[in-house]
Amino acid sequence: MFRSQSPATRPLVDPVVVPGVQAATQMATVAAAYLLFAGHNQPGGGFAAGLMVGAILVLRSLIGRPPPIDGIAIAGLGCLIATVTAIVPIALGSDPLDQTVVSTNLPVLGTIKSGSALILDVGVVLVVAGLVVAVIDGLAPSDGPDE
């Protein structure tokens, strides 16, 4: 189901690009996490964070290290998380898509205000990142038709 290591996807060996992408991976992961948490009442959110994750995955594919995951399934998982977040309030006797907000005091970070909408946002991250992986997979040279 997943692509085997055909010549075109053999890992790249380059003294500048490879360490550069590896460094960028770590910074972009932090940036994506920031965007995800900032999204509650500042610019950011699940979609932007998902795009950031997707960008990392594209960069890593360029150096021949595509993510070893099934993008469509990841997108499905994200969509499942998001829809379940929307359904759960119905089961609790509230309106669908309703949310609860919690705020706590944490050391260093101060007062954090977040809510069940964050779970939906995590779902959105997975949908966007999963779709990016699916697109990478679709563009990559394949050894034969899927299935």
């Binding site: 469509i72 399934a73 997108a75 359904i87």
Partner: protein
């Protein structure tokens, strides 16, 4: 218990996600898909029962007031169409399970989740209480249908998929403009508030809004002269997909037309709608007569039948709208089953071109019977459900003294019968030729077609109660 309305939309979406995760595991995927569709069918039946007993049911999303937020509303009209739509989607999915594996079948790893998305979009479109959510519902259906139409990636499918995409993007853009016009002139997009504010607008603005949305929804419903995309795009897809498109998508266009124009009290547009209806009936059936392929003949009939629904709307009387609603409900399974039978013909002979098949009745008498019943129903021959719908429409037309449209409706029915006999003579009569020898289609395909035919007969048997419900639905729409 209005929460069911939310489940009808979110449930299929959640199942679609699940089906996406397990898409390569045949049993799990089919289990998730079919059980979700069966649950949707059962729930929509329950909604109909509840709405019939306790009146219109409402659900507010996310706790916002209807002026600001999204509201789901199930009245009798929505509930009736919902039951027909969800039941048909379920039956077609069972047919698809039987059909796959052949070269005409669809790729279930793609279509099963996407069909669930389509089901969620359909429920959203039928149940929405405001114009913008209607737009979202349409887009959900359209995105799903782009995938369904082109997922096999054959040249003909991609080419006709382009036409379909361009036409629908154009009409979606117009739709957005229309929403902006409505909001600018009334300050709301909620149906219920609009029904109070639109009649207060001056004549020109009202007519402008009405005509604008006639074009928008008319493109989706494939009315004359905006139908040209349909007969080219539908027949190229695998049978189960064409059947769902034929049975459901254009009818949803007709549904929104009826809902919008009755809620907004567009009586002044009645003559314009009747004219469009007349042309749609005639041009559609004339196009069907000129075709030589089972699927293409049936595709032109979709256009022709939309004319009858428009006729009921154009009369703007309770009897007319009731006829249109009944006709719409009967059309969803009837039109679908004709395409399913077309698929059975294709599966047992290898083609759907009239010239290369003959004498199928000798080898496949069951297929002949399964074709004859919905075909006669489509033409409006008693005692089938099409007869009840057409009789109600003609009766309403006579009562409203709109004789020209009645004459066209009756003439159109005769021509429908003629083109159905063309399929009958071409495919079933005559000497059995060697093409009719690919053997029986899989049992699952025949069984699900049989059940769909039985459900159209059920509509005929229950014509009385269903028509009473249609009448009450029409009263809800017209009398405020």
């Amino acid at each position: 218990m209005s929460a069911v309305l939310g489940v009808l939309i979110l449930g299929p979406l959640a199942s679609a996600s699940l089906a996406m995760i397990v898409r390569h595991h045949r049993t799990l995927r089919d289990g998730v898909t079919v059980s979700s569709m069966a649950a949707s069918t059962a729930l929509s039946g329950w909604v109909l029962f509840d709405v019939e007993r306790a009146g219109t049911s409402r659900l507010v999303i996310g706790g916002w007031t209807p002026e600001l937020g999204i509201e789901l509303v199930a009245d009798l009209f929505a509930a009736l169409v919902l039951v027909a739509a969800m039941g048909t989607i379920l039956l077609v999915q069972l047919y698809a399970i039987g059909e796959r594996g052949s070269k005409w079948g669809s790729d279930a790893a793609v279509t099963a989740p996407v069909m669930l998305v389509l089901s969620a979009g359909t429920a959203l479109t039928l149940l929405t209480g405001d114009l913008f959510t209607l737009f979202v519902g349409f887009e959900l259906i359209l995105v799903a249908s782009y995938v369904l139409l082109t997922h096999r990636g054959q040249a003909g499918q991609v080419r006709s998929g382009m036409t379909y995409l361009v036409m629908n993007l154009l009409s979606s853009t117009f739709f957005l403009f229309g929403v902006a016009f409505v909001y600018r002139s009334t300050g709301t997009i909620n149906y219920e508030l609009l029904s109070q504010r639109i009649p207060e607008l001056d004549m020109a603005t009202r007519a402008g809004i009405g005509l604008w949305f006639l074009v928008v929804f008319g493109t989706k419903a494939a009315v004359f002269p905006l139908f040209s995309w349909l007969p080219d795009s539908y027949p190229t897809a695998p049978t189960n997909i064409t059947a769902i498109f034929a049975g459901l998508l254009t009818k949803i266009g007709a549904y929104t037309l009826i809902r919008f124009h009755t809620t907004m009290a567009m009586e002044d547009l009645g003559p314009a709608i009747l004219t469009v209806a007349g042309f749609t009936m005639l041009i559609g059936v004339a196009g069907a007569l000129a075709q030589n392929d089972v699927k293409r003949i049936l595709s032109f009939h979709i256009v022709s039948q939309i004319g009858y629904m428009l006729m009921g709307l154009g009369l703007f009387t309770v009897a007319g709208i009731a006829g249109a609603i009944f006709f719409l409900v009967h059309q969803i399974p009837t039109k679908t089953v004709l395409f399913l039978v077309g698929g059975l013909i294709e599966r047992s002979t290898g083609t759907s071109a009239l010239g290369s098949i003959s004498g199928l009745i000798h080898r496949q008498p069951l297929i002949a019977l399964l074709f004859a019943i919905p075909a006669l129903s489509l033409a409006g021959v008693p005692p089938f459900s099409g007869f009840v719908g057409k009789l109600a429409l003609v009766d309403a037309g006579v009562a409203a003294s709109s004789i020209p449209i009645v004459a066209i409706a009756v003439g159109g029915s005769l021509l429908t019968l003629l083109s159905m006999s063309k399929i009958w003579i071409g495919v079933f009569w005559g000497e059995a030729n060697e093409r009719a020898s690919l053997g029986d289609p899989p049992a699952m395909m025949r069984l699900s077609t049989l059940v769909t035919v039985a459900s159209t007969l059920l509509i005929a048997a229950l014509a009385g109660p269903i028509f009473t419900l249609s009448q009450r639905a029409a009263e809800q729409l017209l009398i405020r």
